[in-house]
Amino acid sequence: MDEEAYPRRNYLNADYRFRSWLWTTDHKRIAILYMISVTLFFFIGGAAAVIFRLELMTPRGDLTIAETYNRLFTLHGVIMVFFFLIPSIPAVLGNFVLPMMLGARDLAFPKLNLASWYIFMIGGLMAVGAIVAGGADTGWTFYSPYSSLYSNSNVILMALGIFVAGFSSILTGLNFIVTTHTMRAPGLTWFRLPLFVWSLYATSLIMVLGTPVLAITLLLLAAERGLGIGIFDPALGGDPILFQHLFWFYSHPAVYIMILPSMGVISEIVACFSRNRIFGYTFVAFASLAIAVIGFLVWGHHMFVAGGSIYAGMVFSFLSMLVAVPSAIKVFNWTATLYKGSVSLETPMLYALGFIGLFTLGGLTGLFLATIAVDVHVHDTYFVVAHFHYIMVGGAVMGYLGGIHYWWPKITGRMYPEWWGRLSAGIIFIGFNLTFFPQFVLGYLGMPRRVHEYVDEFQVLNVMSSAGASILGVGYLIPLAYLIWSLRYGRLASANPWGATGLEWRTPSPPTTYNFDKTPVVREEAYQYDQDELLSV
């Protein structure tokens, strides 16, 4: 490992003025802006979860009334999906490392990148404004005609906030795709790219091709509600199920916006901490693209009981099963990468291993839900809630935290405290399973989601879940504390503390403003971890 001195001039100390952050076009600084913003949103969404998990400790509504409860889970869903999960890995970690992984000085459109953050914040403020004004109670799915005709809540402002934030997602995706095409360093062919780049590319495709449909759908919804221009209004002969089609055309692929970047992070971490080349690089790379494309063909599995065609349901059911193939390829290949590797269990690796297990569980229960007969039984129950939390929290959030720890030395130039890192990774894993595994059981026994009261038989499992949630909450607060602590007191990081491959580790920690003094030339494949050499160190 090469010990380089803390670089005197880097992107963090290049300029200390406040406006140098607000007007920055440096992808690394924009990543930091995003990191602060999504962390804020994460804890806003988490606060709502705290309240409704407390409410669910007892079978009666003794903390909140039904209306408040509806607003709380809507808040939680909207904020977590649109303002945390979707921007988290792409806009924070992707923004930070993608140009460095490509050997580029910045993204192709730096000003657009900054604009996307401002757009995101405007959308976020609109959504928070809607919450402060009383909140929406439609659920994050905004199903018409409830949202357009009956709900007496702040649907328009909430929907327009998401509409606006969608453009930031589009701009990020557009920027990533163009950058990956045009800004690769000499010698960096497509099949030498780190797998994180492949997964971000696949994610960006979904952002660019899916988000506009959500935008127009929410616009139509707002027009129907605000201007009386009925598009989905059954009183005019309109079809509310059409809203669901258009909504899920984006919102199912959006699940892959959340999980694909996480998969890319896991590929980086697993290769690095088992000192092995990724098993079947090409398969993992193409699996990302396959998930992105097939992800667009499966949205109807959210609508099996909505009243559409049963024949279309069968087609969607079959297509949904197909997604399991590329997902399984990834899981098998990560596992094979571990095989005969020299595995070391640093914090990022703990998150990665957690991801593999939890994602597998979440993915397999997804197959249950893709089967029409089972879905009719568990639709709109806690089984669904548990399933998608295993994907989104067990998958996406685990990957995000793993990636934050993995690249923290690069981002800040400081090491986080390893012992605390491992501790909180363990706490999060335990807390997560205690929170969400009982929900599989609850759902299978028939407890519906989105209710604040339930029959007495379900109380034991609900108390378990709430207890797990409090453990999980502690698990999330510990990293917040020690990562902030490490900014000042952490050990100085070398340029490459993990001995990892990849161009981002060839820059100093933290990098200089333009990343590379001279454009690097790539002469080797990705993940050239030579075990013999490392064992001798």
């Binding site: 089609h245 055309f249 559409g308 279309a312």
Partner: protein, 92 residues
């Protein structure tokens, strides 16, 4: 990447074709062709769009990557329409 300057005459010919197609589509709409009215109108619109994309938007002279990107949006639109109609065409 090379700058390709298209002769003016090409643009005028393409514009002429576009106007001819416009007249054709308005004309065709005046006759009752049964179920064929809509397919004909859509075919003419598609022809006009193709002319604009290929010549005015220079996709004909662009590199293959651009052609893929230009087609991609329309391909995804077909996915949206196709699977949505898988529902509507087979509802009981």
């Amino acid at each position: 990447m090379h700058l390709h300057v298209v002769p003016k005459s090409t643009y005028f010919i393409v514009a002429g074709c576009l106007f001819a197609l416009m007249v054709l589509t308005v004309g065709a709409a005046q006759f009752d062709l049964g179920m064929w009215n809509t397919p004909i109108a859509m075919a003419i619109a598609l022809a006009k769009a193709t002319l604009i994309v290929l010549f005015f938007m220079h996709v004909r002279y662009g590199d293959p990557l651009l052609q893929v990107f230009a087609a991609g949006g329309f391909l995804w639109l077909i996915i949206l329409l196709g699977l949505t109609f898988a529902d509507y065409l087979t509802r009981r």
